[in-house]
């Protein structure tokens, strides 16, 4: 809360100036560089933030149904004199840990562990913070046979139903339903170089161009940067990173994140559960521009949305 730095909107203007243009080769490279930063190997991961912004953190394990998923971290932490539940996908830094964490791709057990911890937090009256960082939910036969789709949808349903304040922060790569499964929140914050997209650039390249090498073009088409997500209304604020990116200074990145989180939680804690739930529903209800000839342009969302087709 020191100084005027963590000022979402004003900061966003700066980011927008950097990444918002939509044509030209140089811009492609800027956007691609930002997307690469979102998944930089030295970028802080979920536990890097949690361990820095909490005075203590107790991780919990298991879904009480089938297993424990190391790709998803969940637990209780002490944050600014209150207990807060933290949940997030966890990537690994070296090869062994990457394998152990399944590259941050959660299985149904991960979402169900998260739901279990959220339910406890809701009963105990603790705010919930999710940290989103995943290339997607795990695409494996075992995950499918144990209900990956239902795990994600029920996670969203539970998050919408929560009485306590909920903040989601996209800290790196937020791809696909696997990311959104932790994304139903009162506020969605995004780090400056994080992305939030319907699919990874590589996945889109394979599907839409039928050519795995078109990831850069796909990224340019999706432009899933924090600044654009803010414009679309998908993100409520963009959290600045240290100069050069979060990977250059984990401490400072965590400090800024913590300041944004605290300010956001204070805002939300001033509201009643009913107020939060109505606003939470409306927040997602209005996302997605479309054309409604009878009602005029039903441009449902967006702070700075493009004109209808």
């Amino acid at each position: 809360m020191s100084g005027g730095k963590p000022d979402g909107p004003s900061f966003v203007r700066r980011v927008t100036g950097k990444l918002g243009r939509s044509s030209g080769a140089q811009v492609d490279e800027d956007l691609w560089a930002s997307i690469q930063l979102a998944r930089h190997a030295e970028r802080p991961y979920t536990l890097d933030y949690i361990n820095r912004i909490t005075s203590d953190f107790e991780e919990l394990h298991g879904d009480r149904l089938f297993g424990d998923d190391p790709a998803m971290v969940a637990g209780f932490g002490r944050f600014h004199d209150r207990a807060v539940a933290f949940v997030g996908q966890q990537k690994g830094r070296d090869t062994n840990e990457r394998t152990y964490r399944n590259f941050g791709m959660a299985s149904p057990e991960g979402y169900r562990k998260s739901m279990r911890v959220m339910e406890i937090a809701n009963r105990l009256g603790m705010p919930i913070v999710t940290l989103i960082d995943t290339p997607g939910a795990f695409p494996g036969a075992s995950a499918e046979e144990r209900g990956q789709g239902g795990a994600i949808s029920r996670s969203m349903q539970l998050m919408w139903r929560l009485d306590v304040p909920v903040v989601a922060v996209v800290i790196g790569e937020g791809s696909s339903g696997g990311a959104l499964g932790l994304g139903i929140a009162d506020r969605v914050l995004m780090l400056e170089n994080s992305t939030y997209s319907v699919i990874s650039p590589e996945g889109a390249s394979a599907i839409l161009w039928r050519d795995a090498s078109q990831a850069k073009r796909a990224a340019q088409a999706f432009k899933p940067t924090a600044a654009n997500c803010y414009r679309w209304g998908v993100a409520d604020a963009v959290i600045p990173e240290p100069p050069g990116g979060a990977h250059t200074d984990h401490e400072q990145a965590a400090e800024i994140l913590g300041q944004y989180l605290q300010r956001t939680l204070l805002e939300l804690e001033a509201q009643t559960p009913a107020e939060r739930r109505v606003a939470r529903r409306d927040r997602f209800r209005r996302l997605g521009p479309l054309r409604d000839p009878e009602g005029g342009v039903a441009m449902a969302s967006g702070r700075d949305a493009p004109p209808p087709g």
Binding site: Q157, G177, L180, Y196, N228, R285, L290, A300
Partner: protein, 338 residues
């Protein structure tokens, strides 16, 4: 159509009554067809009469949304809702071709404005809201229009206090609307809860395919969930899984019958029994006012076979090997309506 605040109200007098339409939409589905499973050939009329199920082998062909409504409803037809909503192009998206061109092509190919049709309809005398996805329009993909129409359908059913029937047939979120398409998953999941608050049931029908962000949002949240035989039901499709994990998948991976064994659906229901089955559960959960209709039970509940049918219905109609358990001996007389 007017929007009040953030919520949707429908001015009924603006609704277009579409009734039975033999020609406009569903151009593809009305073509003559050769069964991909058994090579039998059928005229379009034969297909339509048999609800586009192969009479020889039971293969379920795709059905357009409007024909679905004709299959489900009463002779009186249905009243389509919000048919004029059309996609915007928020990302000014281009892959191999521009998104706006893709939409134009889908419109002219299908005669529809989007990949979903919502309607007021009576199913076995029970007034419902139906939201039927159509795979022929850009693979049934869910963009802002599909999300918006689904949300309005939920709100409309809750407001009227009548059941909602959703039929999914979709490859998932519409890539061309990017992150905003992803957000439709959230919108639909939240909107569905309006029905729970109104104590109104939602019947979910999973048709081929129900995958990606559709299976991972509203489609897996029905109070009662039926799947059509052979429908692929998965978050990640078989190709993605095989490419990512190098797993070799079983032939029936993700198919309705296997997902029944996985505990993911309540029953696999042949399309020719679907309207009766939906009507039956609606008569249990939300019968029309007056209850008098119960005095004349629907056809499938009459006769001496009734009890046999109900007992057999309690046994999942899937091969024993899938369950890993021995099937009871009563498998020969499955009863009429299962």
């Amino acid at each position: 159509m007017s929007r009040v605040g953030r919520n949707i109200t429908v001015s009924i007098d603006r609704l277009r009554h579409l009734g039975h339409r033999q020609d406009r939409p569903g151009r593809i589905a009305s073509d003559a067809s050769t069964c991909p499973k058994c090579d039998s050939h059928y005229s379009g009329d034969e297909m339509r009469r048999n609800l586009r199920v192969c009479p020889a082998c039971g293969h379920h062909f795709p059905v357009t949304a409007h024909e679905r409504l004709e299959q489900l409803g009463e002779p009186g037809g249905y009243v389509e809702l919000w048919s004029d909503l059309r996609a915007a192009d928020p990302l000014q998206f281009t892959d191999i071709k521009p998104y706006v061109d893709r939409i134009r092509e889908a419109e002219s190919k299908t005669g529809m404005n989007e990949a979903i049709v919502c309607a007021e309809i009576e199913v076995r005398h029970v007034p419902c809201v139906a939201a039927i996805m159509d795979f022929t329009f850009m693979g049934g993909s869910m963009g802002a229009v599909v999300g918006e129409k689904l949300a309005r359908a939920c709100e409309h059913a809750a407001q009227k206090g009548i059941p909602l029937i959703i039929l999914s047939s979709s490859g998932g979120a519409r890539m061309q609307e990017g992150t905003l398409a992803l957000m439709q998953m959230a919108k639909t999941v939240i909107a569905l809860d309006a029905l729970a608050e109104a104590q109104v049931p939602v019947i979910m029908i999973l048709a081929h395919p129900t995958t990606g962000g559709v299976w991972a949002s509203f489609a897996s949240l029905g109070d009662v969930t039926y799947a059509e035989p052979g429908a692929l039901i998965a978050f990640s499709g078989p190709r993605v899984i095989e490419e990512t994990t190098r797993e070799v998948l079983p032939a029936d991976f993700g198919r309705a019958e296997r997902q029944l064994a996985n505990g993911q659906v309540d029953a696999v229901v042949d399309r020719r029994e679907l309207a009766a089955r939906i009507g039956r559960v609606l008569h249990i959960l939300a019968p029309p006012d007056g209850e008098a209709l119960l005095a004349t039970p629907p056809g499938w509940a009459q006769g001496g076979a009734e009890r046999v049918g109900r007992v057999a219905q309690s046994l999942p109609s899937i091969p024993g090997k899938i369950m890993g358990r021995i099937r009871p001996g009563s498998g020969d007389d499955e009863g009429p309506a299962e």
